[in-house]
């Protein structure tokens, strides 16, 4: 199997501060890789750098996605190419109903790929099925995106968008934060339903808990801007038991 996502020697500074310092990682299609690490290790920065957030540009290194260099593309083009970042704190967009937002996004992606837009009735049918699977109240989707939504509702909204946009590279940034056990189960089922041989997933998390629900094929430890250890699912359990201390930079 050829690697779909290939990150080589990635360096990213935020402001003047180097955050990622030579990160190298391959995620083959069909696999779920977890990125774990202490606070401040650069986990969220990795998600932003892969999705193209302004201010998180690479200063060195490369990111290839399906053989194409991601770093040359603007965020919308990356999205149309299959990149989806599920935000740790999804943004509220007053004045734009959730349905309008998702349909605009879906059709923009389809246009960018040279595909036909989805008609309104067809879209509504898709949304109704996807929201029912996530046990979401359909009327909520008529409200402005994420405005007044609870933490759990916002995360379900992220998964709903994922299900509708059908990305091929999924980056989940601390998806478990702010979720109770029931919501965590529903959200995880939503993510697991998207596992497929032609999709790659990066699950960024501080705690092992999420990995009980979304089982990773590989676990990587990110500390001080680099992958410092990699292993199977047992590595997550070890981290849960021992903490990140041994991966932290030694005091001078």
């Amino acid at each position: 199997m050829t690697a779909m996502l290939s990150i080589q020697n990635l360096h990213v500074s935020v402001g003047d501060k180097p955050i990622l310092r030579g990160l190298t990682l391959d995620v083959p299609a069909g696999e779920v890789h977890a990125i774990m690490g202490p606070n401040g290790a650069g986990k969220s920065t990795l998600g932003y750098a892969l999705s193209g957030r302004p201010g998180y540009e690479a200063t060195e290194g490369s990111v290839d996605w399906n053989g194409e260099s991601l770093l040359d593309l603007d965020p919308a083009a990356r999205a149309a190419g299959g990149v989806f970042l599920s935000f740790q704190y999804p943004i509220e967009i007053p004045g734009v109903p959730a349905l309008t937002f998702v349909r605009t996004a879906l059709n923009a992606q389809r246009r960018a790929r040279g595909e036909d837009e989805v008609t309104a009735p067809a879209f509504l049918k898709l949304v109704k099925a996807a929201s029912a699977a996530l046990k979401m109240d359909f009327d909520m989707l008529k409200r402005p995106l994420n405005v007044g939504f609870s933490g759990g509702e916002k995360k379900r909204m992220e998964i709903l968008q994922m299900a509708l946009l059908e990305p091929s590279l999924l980056i989940l940034d601390e998806t478990d934060s702010g979720l109770d056990i029931d919501a965590l189960r529903i959200v995880s089922e939503g993510v697991n339903a998207l596992r497929s041989p032609d999709r790659a997933m990066l699950v960024i998390t501080h705690y092992q808990r999420l990995l009980d629900y979304i089982k990773p094929d590989r676990v990587h430890v990110l500390a001080a801007g680099r992958i410092v250890a990699s292993g199977g699912p047992e590595l997550a359990l070890q981290l849960e038991a021992e903490g990140y201390d041994k991966y932290l930079p030694q005091a001078a």
Partner: protein, 340 residues
């Protein structure tokens, strides 16, 4: 605004400059150095933006009334008030009086339809809202970028009256839209909303003065604007609560987006309170589009330009959504969407 004499287009001495405090951001003297020649009469063109809503009509073309120039509403009525300018380098003035009798419900649909160029228009509207009457005034202003216009509305809201106003403007060389409200209190309820969307070198000045004369009156104001290029938006909102006007509840908000590095917004909210037991609040923000929202939208595949347009429209549409009359609201929505 009290100290300055009434504007008269034939007398250059009445043209206020920026040294007159109330005209600080709309220096008429600077853009109009002498009295313009009077505009010739012209033929009426076009049906106006509100033609589909029917009702009665008062039409002025270059200051000349085509038919009646006053209106008294009783019962439920719609009046389209059209100020049409079709002139080049000349000036014209109008004066119109509209009143709503007790129990009347008037939908006043006002349009400023500018053709030609570099004209000067001066419009004065006197509006009386009787006790128990309700007037909704919706104003669409579309003028050439080099036109000068001053529109002054004097609104008297009797105790227990209800007044709703929404002005939507795209600016001109100098465009002053002033509303003065004598607020009768005692349950009288006033809403003064505004919306501006300016490009190029356009300017608009939305000035309001609400004078709460008696107890238990309510005022709610929301003005939103977006300025691009070198455009300039002005909001001056003054609320005065007179001695004895206890129980007044007045809220004013002005929020603007500056989407051009050389664009400008001048905002002057003022609350002047002489009564003790009142609730007054004002909020004023001027900023840019939310960067994190823009990135979020792009991350989902919406190209940057489309994301900006969607966010801008969402920002402004809150003012349109406050229009209670369904058909009028949809006319304003499509009018605005076409301009953005």
């Amino acid at each position: 605004m009290s100290a300055w004499p009434q504007l008269d287009l034939t007398d250059v001495a009445t043209f206020p400059s920026r040294r007159v405090e109330a005209w600080k951001y709309s220096d008429l003297r600077r853009v109009l150095k002498e009295a313009p020649q009077p505009s010739a009469s012209a033929a009426l063109t076009g049906p106006g933006p509100f033609c589909d809503l029917g009702g009665e009509a008062i039409v002025f073309v270059n200051g000349v009334a085509v038919g009646v120039d006053a209106f008294v509403a009783s019962g439920e009525q719609t009046l389209r008030l059209r100020f049409v300018s079709d002139a080049v380098e000349t000036g014209h003035s109008t004066g119109v009086r509209v009143s709503a009798r007790a129990g009347a419900k008037l939908l006043l649909l006002e349009s400023h339809e500018g053709h030609g160029s570099t004209y000067v228009a001066h419009n004065r509207l006197t509006l009386d809202v009787a006790a128990g009457a309700e007037v909704t005034r919706i104003v669409l202003v579309e003028e050439p970028e080099d036109a000068i216009s001053v529109t002054e509305a004097q609104v008297k809201v009797a105790p227990g009256g209800r007044y709703r106003q929404t002005i939507v403007a795209t600016g001109g060389k100098l465009q002053r839209l002033e509303t003065q409200v004598a607020h009768g209190g005692q349950g009288a309820d006033v809403r003064l909303d505004g919306l501006y969307a300016l490009t190029g070198a356009r300017q608009t000045d939305m000035t309001t003065v609400v004078d709460h004369l008696a107890a238990d009156g309510q005022t709610s104001q929301l003005t939103k604007g977006v300025v691009r290029d070198t455009a300039r938006g002005v909001f001056q909102g003054k609320i005065v609560v007179e001695r004895g006007a206890d129980g007044t509840d007045a809220r004013m908000g002005h929020h603007a987006l500056i989407l051009g590095e050389r664009a400008e917004v001048d905002a002057k909210p003022e609350l002047i309170i002489y009564a003790d037991d009142v609730q007054c609040a004002h909020g004023n923000t001027v900023g840019n589009l939310d960067e994190s929202a823009l990135f979020y939208m792009q991350q989902r595949g919406i190209p940057a330009d489309e994301a900006r347009a969607l966010l801008t429209q969402a920002f402004l549409i809150e003012v349109v959504d406050r229009i209670e009359h369904d058909e009028a609201r949809e006319v304003v929505r499509s009018w605005l969407t076409a301009k953005l």
